[in-house]
Symmetry: C4
């Protein structure tokens, strides 16, 4: 399996997932400002999921850039990641239409958790295939952000039973944590010539 | 016809087919766990079809990787395969909404059979264009899995008249059969430098 | 404008157009064979349009393969072609749901005619940019098929007022005309090293 | 981040946005010419947005072609652009269904303005990363068209309160302004070897 085709296929799937989410943003019946108001949570849910998918796309790119050898295991770990990412439009649409409801919030958090776990598995499979001293293993390091995300998602799932607002705030915090550029890692990547 | 563009086009079509299926997974009206329950068969049908499409994508990649020459026949056999694969979202949606119903199960099986037959034809056309001693002919060997799949699909179609549950179980078994890595073939591919 | 990116963008748009058409093939409410019957014309319309789009994709590939220089004019003629092709799902859906109705048949024929005219314009713009002695000008020759298609579309539009069945038969004939491999042209392309 | 993958991902997202808009062009219930009439504004809105997206695609291509170095800032400015472009189908659908209504016209104009601003930011981030004497900085020059577009969008938003027809006419004028080839810039690009 050539890395190029794996990247191109993943890009296509992620691009489609990002874009079909906007199909849920249906124009309202009315034409006044009040008609737009119920769309606000749908729009915010779309924005958050769009950012999450963009983060996955960027990280996925860096991960594969540091990968030399594509094995069958990497291939299927990647397909599993794409499957779980593809459930984000469903969860986004449900949470957007029922802001504050418990079960949609739990489902949204579970999908984010499944995305993170499948990404984590993909990392493990890639590192195992390239070896512990490989460039990708060094670049990932202890993967503090990845582990913190898992902890935060689980926290949000528990907190949701008390307050869905706080749970959603945690989802936003995780996204911001990934958006803030990590200079150390970038330097390390540059230093190792990635 | 350059092989690269044929691969890229097939990738795009398969990626879109995989992803638009999830549009059928519509968020329920209610917001409790009971509201999610009717979605379970839709979700499972989506999962099965997603895995099937991923298998076709992986096999298609290996097949074309071992192909040196793209002819008009290969081009159109490939387009026929994409056409039959594109019917999977329709069949998936119908079987998901009417679990256990005979005709949707038959249609799902017929689409899987048509996919398998058109893939088989694509293989024949490619082998004929590359010659019987070509790398692709050697790599495919007797294509036991491909032939077993055809037999199993036909069996499932007959069995469906007695029990749709058993028929669907057969569809799952075929998918698992393809998921299990075939070390011998991989070794052979590696040995021939694919 | 690099030719590669123009090809990749056109491929993506054509792949999406081909695949979103199948979204119109909605699973029926019922689950017996009778429930499938009203879908037959929708399915046949989808098949015909899928074949047309595949023909455009193949011809578009050959045309660009023989193109050395991409100008602004080529770029916009190509975008115009993609626009008119993008109307095919709409026309396919309408004619599929109202088989035999006059206006949907006319609209379908007009979209096919607009597709053919915009493809013809793209050819003219490309030949003009490459020069009359260029490989692409020689390969196209007198473009008998292209001109015959235009005449046949116009004929079908007139005939539709008498019989929509005959008009649709003409659309099918044009598609078959393009599917039949044109050995002379292929030989000429090979001879000129395309 | 390799430039190639950034371009391919942007192409895929723009191609999908362009094509899913046509899903809003639903075939009418009736089959006479009168049934088509209400679709006219939807069709014209689709045409205008298609042209806008094509312009963004062409300009985006030229901009990246002149870019040597892709930084994290460029990456995220590009993702922001794709996000705002992805809102065009929503705005197109709303304005198409309620021609002449104030709020849909304002929303359409605001999305166009957001697209233009995010494109402007992308330009600034790219020029900053390449340096003031870089090819891209020279090619952009004073970017009169970009600045004029921003002024015209704001004008249209104000004018819309008096006449939505004039506001929409301004949106059309901006699109035509970009369609008219700018010989000077093309010459400059050619002179600098772009």
């Amino acid at each position: 399996m050539s890395k190029g085709r794996l990247e191109a296929f993943s890009d296509a799937v992620i691009a489609i997932i990002m874009t079909i989410m906007v199909l849920e943003l249906r124009p309202p019946e009315g034409t006044d400002l009040a008609a737009l108001q119920p769309l606000a949570p749908v729009f915010l849910a779309y924005l958050l999921s769009f950012v999450y998918l963009a983060i996955y796309w960027v990280n996925h790119h860096h991960l594969l850039q540091a990968t030399q050898r594509v094995t069958g295991g990497i291939l299927w770990a990647n397909i599993a990641l794409l499957f779980w990412l593809s459930l984000l439009p469903f969860a986004t649409s449900w949470i957007g239409e029922h802001r504050g409801a418990l079960v949609p919030t739990l489902v949204y958090g579970l999908v984010l958790l499944a995305d993170a776990i499948s990404y984590f598995i993909l990392q493990v499979v890639i590192v195992r295939a390239q070896g512990p001293d490989s460039q990708v293993a060094v670049a990932l390091g202890r993967d503090l952000k990845g582990k913190a995300s898992l902890v935060l998602y689980v926290t949000a799932l528990v907190v949701a039973f008390v307050s869905t607002v706080v749970a959603i705030a945690i989802f936003v915090v995780v996204a911001i944590m990934w958006l803030v550029p990590d200079r150390r890692i970038e330097r390390m990547m540059n230093a190792t010539g990635a």
